[in-house]
Amino acid sequence: MKNGKLHKILHTQWFTLLVVIIVISVVTGMVNPRFFRLANIINIFEQISTLGVVASGAAIMIISGNFDISVGSIIGLSASVMAMMIKAGVPIWVVVPCGILIAIVCDAFVGFTSIVFHAPSFITSLASSSIFKGIALALTSATLQTIFGKFSFLGSARVFGVVPLMFILGIIVYLVVYFILKLTRFGRRVYAIGSNPQAAYLSGINVKGSKMLFFIINGTLVGIAATMLLSRIGAAGASTGAGIEMQAIGAVVIGGTPISGGKGGILGTFLGVLLMGLISNSLNMLQASPYLQELATGALIILAVAVSALSNRNGKASM
């Protein structure tokens, strides 16, 4: 029994990921010892915290069988509005809730259109993405809204003078999503709906209502991510956050959640995000061309898909 458990752990995708992460770290550290300096490690964690928050939401989406590729545009819109409000002198405690609310409304719109028109959320979020980006461009007249120094607390604060507040926020989000997915009935619905929506409906689950909530939760996380990003960069425009949805989906997939939904989890997602951050940092440390980073990210996702396809095949053969 115990052996069986150990065997199982050795064969999970997150264990493979952990090994890969350690190997990359050691190799990079050997080539460039600066890699292991505290400042660099903190830098990595700081850089991946926003992606982590977005990826946590993406994990809920993908496990439940949904996609939201409008996340980048929502961040652009939400952050732009927040920046404009701050510039206009609105107090921060009003601005942040407004920014998060905008993200929730946007994501709810994506979910609503998907549910009402029986359309895949991939399509409604693709369409919505244009709408949100258009609104952000119109509001900002396509200019960058800078707020240097007015809202840098969140992005620069260090807890105990060392640990970035952003990173702690990211960890809290992981924990909350872990709690939801693994320990609540609502989380069970995420898996059930992603696995077989018709069976979920016949088991008495309110599929449409739950799906709406998935989008609202995702919207909340996206709003938080927009706030974090704005505070860190100190400026926002319509293209703030562009492309982050693909990175997030990539991290979730690298973390072992199949694109078909129904299974997966947040631990793998965390490691997937960490690996992406690590690779980008390592390539910097190894003074590789920045173009290589894009390439590496793509190759990584293909590799992750290959690994899960191969392990699936083995699983089937041993059945």
Binding site: R185, R189, A200
Partner: protein, 497 residues
């Protein structure tokens, strides 16, 4: 009728998965114009044998002989080129193309211009083939508009057109009604007369004795024997499949029947269910029979709130229920065990435990999961229903059909309901698991539950039901007390002659 040269043969074919031998030295010969029936419980190795012959898996040892050539293994392409066609349970046709397009798929008839299909000549040829095989389908219809039975016939026609010499049919009648099964039997008979060799796999032993020339009995991967049909009878086959005596008709225990508990009044839904009313008493098994398409499943769907019924009321113990969706139905103590396990019941990416507790958790009071309790409940159901699993974390799709069905049943048993609706409760389930499911249904009746059992399996309907309601064209035309009714009587009522 048969000449000496077999068109397909297997010698000592074996396959082992992870130390477990699923097929052990199986040998047979199939001649032109012969129907070889393969019987055995789920897990006896029937599917493995088919997969080996169709090239989906490689045997570990043994020799496959086709038209005089010998092979240690086939791949799907070779198998097809050698004229072996497999008709799977899941239909492999292209819905958006017409009947004749599907027949000619892959070897289209080209017209005068390059790359342009000559539709007229294809349609004409398709018509000829369909007529020759006495199949009444319009060659220009789209496949998506065909019934399940017609699709299956079309698959056979396609194989015939591709000059298949051997036709492998895996449970071809499991989703067909009585009439459709008859016409399929006729088709098999025709093809046999045209010199095809047919391997026919079915749970329905009546069919096998109707059309089989030889019968191959498998048990736990081993070959019990290969017999000419005339030499054996049904009891012999059952005895050898399961290693114990069993009658075709399950002899159920009688349990006391109480007062009226369920009242269904004037239910209608679209054109499928028309003004249906009946009562079910406590402890009663109310069977519903009829042809496929007679509105049986739709009736169940209307009661369970799967579809919004247009009219009608449902009462439990006199109280009228308001049911708009399955959630309402479950709250009101109604269970529905669907016919299509894979589509409507299984969460195949989830483990056995989560599959069993899903409804209990959904309707529990706490919004938090109680893992220990869930584990305890799942284990109790695994023990009670004898679900064959190593642990509760095993993936539900790795189970056999019978065990999957039991896991789904366990899900509903955890919910203490009053009305249990079973739609084809033993479809695709082996004889051993079948009996267990029957016993379970009777146990529910003993506890005073009301049971509605929809079934196309005549022996099942006759041996389990206290009364049998007969549906035809959406109406409940008759309710019979189940005394001295024969299969013949039922078929007459189903068809209406």
């Amino acid at each position: 009728m048969t000449n000496n040269e077999p068109i397909l043969s297997a010698k000592q074919v074996s396959k082992t998965y992870g130390g477990h031998c699923v097929l052990d030295k199986v040998s047979f010969e199939l001649h032109s114009g012969e129907v070889l029936c393969v019987v055995g419980e789920n897990g006896a190795g029937k599917s493995t044998l088919i997969k080996i012959l169709s090239g989906a898996i490689r045997p570990d040892s043994g020799i496959i002989g086709v038209h005089g050539g010998t092979y240690s293994a086939l791949n799907p392409r070779e198998s097809m080129q050698l004229g072996i066609a497999t008709i799977y349970q899941e239909v492999e046709l292209i819905d958006s193309l017409s009947v004749s397009d599907n027949i000619f798929l892959g070897n289209e008839t080209l017209g005068r211009f390059p790359l342009v299909i000559d539709a007229d000549s294809q349609n004409k040829k398709a018509r000829q083939i369909l007529d020759m095989l006495h199949i009444d389908i319009d060659e220009k219809m789209l496949v998506e508009d065909l019934s399940a039975a017609q699709k299956q016939n079309l698959q056979i026609v396609k194989a015939f057109h591709q000059e298949a010499r051997v036709l492998i049919m895996d449970e071809p009648t499991s989703s067909l009604g009585v009439e459709e099964t008859r016409s399929l039997m006729q088709l098999v008979h025709d093809l046999r007369g045209r010199g095809l060799g047919i391997i026919y796999i079915s749970h329905y032993l009546e069919e096998i004795f109707e059309i089989g020339d030889t019968i191959l009995i498998l048990k736990d991967g081993e070959q019990v024997g290969l017999y000419p049909r005339a030499d054996i009878d049904v009891n012999f086959v059952i005895h050898n499949m399961v290693g114990r005596d069993a009658s075709m008709f399950f002899v159920r225990e009688r349990v006391p029947i109480g007062a009226d508990q369920i009242q269904v009044e004037n239910i209608s839904w679209k054109d499928a269910v028309k003004d249906v009313s009946f009562n079910v008493r406590a402890g009663e098994v109310f069977g519903i029979g009829g042809l496929v398409g007679s509105g049986r499943s739709e009736l169940a769907a209307s009661i369970f709130g799967m579809v919004r019924k247009d009219a009608g009321t449902i009462r439990i113990s006199g109280q009228e229920l308001s049911i708009n969706n399955p959630k309402d139905a479950i709250k009101n103590k109604i269970c529905f065990i669907t016919e299509d396990r894979k589509k409507y019941a299984l969460f195949d990416s989830m483990d056995v435990q989560d599959n069993i507790v899903i409804i209990h958790t959904e309707f529990g009071k706490s919004p938090l999961l109680k893992q220990k309790k869930e584990n305890r409940l799942a284990k109790s159901m695994i023990d009670k229903l004898h679900i064959a699993v190593d642990n509760t974390e095993e993936s539900v799709i790795s189970l056999s059909g019978g065990n999957q069905q039991k896991a789904v049943l366990g899900r509903w048993l955890l919910n203490d309901a009053t009305l249990f609706i079973f739609d084809e409760p033993t479809k695709g389930v082996d004889i051993g698991a079948k009996e267990e499911i029957y016993k379970l249904i009777i146990e529910l009746a003993r506890k005073g539950k009301s049971i509605i059992m929809i079934s196309s399996d005549m022996p099942e309907l006759l041996s389990m039901s206290d009364r049998i309601g007969i549906m035809r064209e959406g109406r409940l035309i008759k309710i019979l007390d189940n005394q001295r009714i024969t299969e013949e009587d039922l078929i007459h009522d189903f068809i209406g002659i």
